[in-house]
Amino acid sequence: MSVAPGLRRGDTVTAPTSRPATARPAERATTRRWARPQRSRAQWAGWLFALPALLMYAVFELRPILTAVQCSFYDWDGISAATPVGVANYTRVFTEPQLLASIVHSLVLIVFFTVLPVILGLAVASVVREIRSTWAGAAARTLMFLPQIIPGAASAIAWTWMYSPDGAVNQLLRALGLGSLTRAWLGDFTWALPAVGIIGTWLATGLCTLLLMAGIGKIDTSLYEAASLDGASRLQQFRAITLPGLRAEIGVCVTITVIAALASFDVVFMSTQGGPGYSTQVPGVQVYQLAFTENRIGQSSALAVVLSLLVLAVVLPLQRVFKEK
């Protein structure tokens, strides 16, 4: 194996990491000539270690994404030859009222999947912080996190039973003397979407609470002590210490749950399949139905691409908002 001329002397040179950190400028100047191969060596060795993961990423992430983008420009039933249709599939996404309405529904779901869980999570985390008993704290954490370990599809089925005309929700309302409010929640044009949203709230609150509790644990307790000595009320402490201290954690909560809301599939599919009428239709379910029940792979891919872009368009600015200063 021939060696690059500059490297002949390199035999005596140690790896960059073991080079004395206090190398004088003059020394650096002399090493620069053969420092380049050293750098690229470290660089390429790193890439080599990443190769298996990169390969998996290329095959199972990049390729499907590129295929979906490509398919979105074709009319294809998944079996016979595809015909190119230009941007017709995209035009349809933005002109068909039902496809557009489903995007609006997913935006409404953000209220239930993100806003409510974060508010509830903040409240619960602040309260649990003050619970001195470790036993009670652990119990609270476990209970709050429980919904998170149940698959969304399974909890959707359980909630479907609870929402049924004689289910737990209506039984509770009747027991409270609110029998006039009872209804078939998932069959009601006005209430089906909020009812589906509540399932998402139930699922996401545990995750948010846990993340926020971990965040609160990192805040220096002396800050709270100092604040209370200065006579700050609980609410003032929350606003001045807890909230700014949790900026990054809230950012994570919001990002994860917003994606869950916009790309929701399992909860809606298992509870209403988009009904009654079109009142709970969301892009995730539409993508599935277009591709697998209607065999319209092109149209389905176009909607999936639009959905991905929508998620990015909502999530990227959020990243900026929650960036720690």
Binding site: V3, Q43, W47, Y57, P165
Partner: protein
């Protein structure tokens, strides 16, 4: 000790990386779908034989999980007659067969017997074997025409033309009724006209029972609607619509009238109050509670009802508008078996199709709750006494004799059920739509999907 990485090695690693990324992504560069030079398959065999090969042959069969017990029984009986034939079956969950069957059919090594969900989709790409030569050789043309019409297709339109599948049995729809509730109201014979049916429902409401169990969460509200149009529009026009015949429309005065009747029944409180939230399981439970009179549903529930309400349930075909008119029912195949064009064992597979209308297979179909395929001159399968299946079978015989077998409107196109029938019927029964808008929107969705 360090092994120096040279530029060349580095370059090589780089090339490797680029190659890996490319390998992962290149397949996406060609147009989706098969290459134009895919091997052609013989979809219209002419030299066919009714004699089975004498050497051992293994057939692969593909069907839905719900049909497993009846298929297994049919396979056992057939292979007993033909010991050199082995049939290995694969079953997918029923709701998944819709998605997987087209891919099974398009595979280069497809099963030899496959559940045919859409005859036109199967013929479009020459993926199904034209069975005309076998029909002549075996004499299937003597079967009642309405039992084969659903599996015929010509130029992308089903209902007439060449034969592509044969059924292992049929489903049958109509109205179950609770005999105990009926007797308490004074109803001794099933109603003979639509008006009579309506008046019994009104009386049931006055007596405090649910007049008609309809579960519309999954679009069950389409059931009473289609039961009415089957005879109002006539089986031929409804079938043509489902078969996508050119110019067929559901936007007819008869359909608007039927939707008006159904919406009116719901408005008058003759359906359960939470009709749009009720699913099939909840509907079953409501009917089994003994507090309901009619239940528009099908043969698939007969065994279950025999178990939960033994001897208490009757069944009749939907009465026509006026007594003595056309009786009809939605009735399609339990499984319509077809032979993929690329199958290597077409003669043996055709022998299995022929077996499906034999006396032995007919008994197996009935034993599993399906209506038998075959002619009226064949021996009648025996049915356990007291089973509601007796009522279902005689209703089927009546409908079959009247040429009233109609396919389900939800099967007109792949997307029509999800995209139009279910949501639109929910809007209709929820009071957010009118009968005219209901049929017009369904028709619009139908045309959109067909012209795409």
């Amino acid at each position: 000790m360090h092994t120096p990485v040279t530029r060349r090695t580095a370059a090589r690693t780089g090339a490797l990386l680029a190659l890996a990324l490319a390998a992962g992504t290149t397949a996406a560069c060609s147009a989706p779908g098969p290459a134009a030079n895919a091997p052609a398959a013989d979809s219209t065999p002419t030299a066919v034989s009714t004699s089975l090969p004498t050497t051992p042959v293994t057939l692969k069969l593909y069907d839905g999980q719900g049909l497993k017990s009846v298929d297994d029984a049919l396979i056992a009986a057939f292979t007993k007659q033909h010991p050199n034939v082995t049939i290995t079956a694969t079953y997918d969950p029923d709701n998944v067969t819709t998605q997987n069957q087209p891919r099974q059919l398009a595979s280069s090594t497809p099963p030899d017997l496959v559940r045919v969900i859409s005859v036109t989709a199967g013929t479009k790409n020459n993926l199904l074997t034209n069975l005309d030569a076998y029909a002549t050789a075996y004499g299937w043309d003597e079967l009642p025409a309405s039992q084969l019409a659903q599996f015929r297709a010509k130029d992308g339109v089903a209902g007439a033309g060449s034969l592509y599948a044969k059924a292992s049995g049929f489903t049958m729809t109509g109205l179950y009724y609770d005999k105990k509730v009926a007797a308490s109201l004074g109803m001794t014979t099933p109603p003979a006209s639509l008006d009579e049916l309506s008046s019994w429902m009104t009386r049931a409401k006055a007596a405090g029972v649910t007049p008609m169990v309809v579960a519309n969460k999954e679009g069950g509200g389409v059931f009473p609607f289609q039961l009415i149009i089957n005879s109002a529009m006539g089986p031929k026009k409804v079938s043509e619509w489902v078969f996508n015949a050119p110019g067929a429309t559901i936007d007819t005065p008869e359909a608007v009238a039927a939707a008006t009747t159904v919406a009116g029944w719901n408005k008058a409180g003759l359906f359960p109050g939470s009709v749009n939230a009720l699913d099939a399981t909840a509907a079953d439970a409501l009917f089994a509670s003994g507090k309901a009179l009619f239940f528009p549903w099908g043969n698939w529930d007969a065994a279950n009802l025999d178990k939960t309400m033994p001897g208490q349930v009757g069944f009749f075909a939907m009465p026509p508008a006026s007594a003595g008119g056309q009786v009809a029912a939605m009735s399609d195949a339990a499984t319509a078996f077809g032979i993929p064009a690329r199958s290597q064992h077409k003669d043996a597979a055709a022998a299995f199709l022929n077996f499906l209308s034999s006396d032995e297979a007919r008994q197996i179909a009935v034993d599993h709750g399906f209506m038998p395929s075959g002619g009226a001159d064949q021996a009648q399968p025996s049915i356990p006494s007291g089973s509601v299946l007796g009522d279902v079978t005689s209703a089927f015989a009546k409908v079959s004799a009247a040429g009233g077998q109609v396919p389900f409107v939800q099967n007109a196109t792949a997307g029509i059920s999800n995209r139009a029938w279910t949501p639109e019927s929910q809007l209709l029964l929820g009071g957010s739509s009118t009968p005219q808008t209901f049929v017009a929107n369904v028709q619009k969705s139908y045309e959109d999907e067909l012209k795409r």
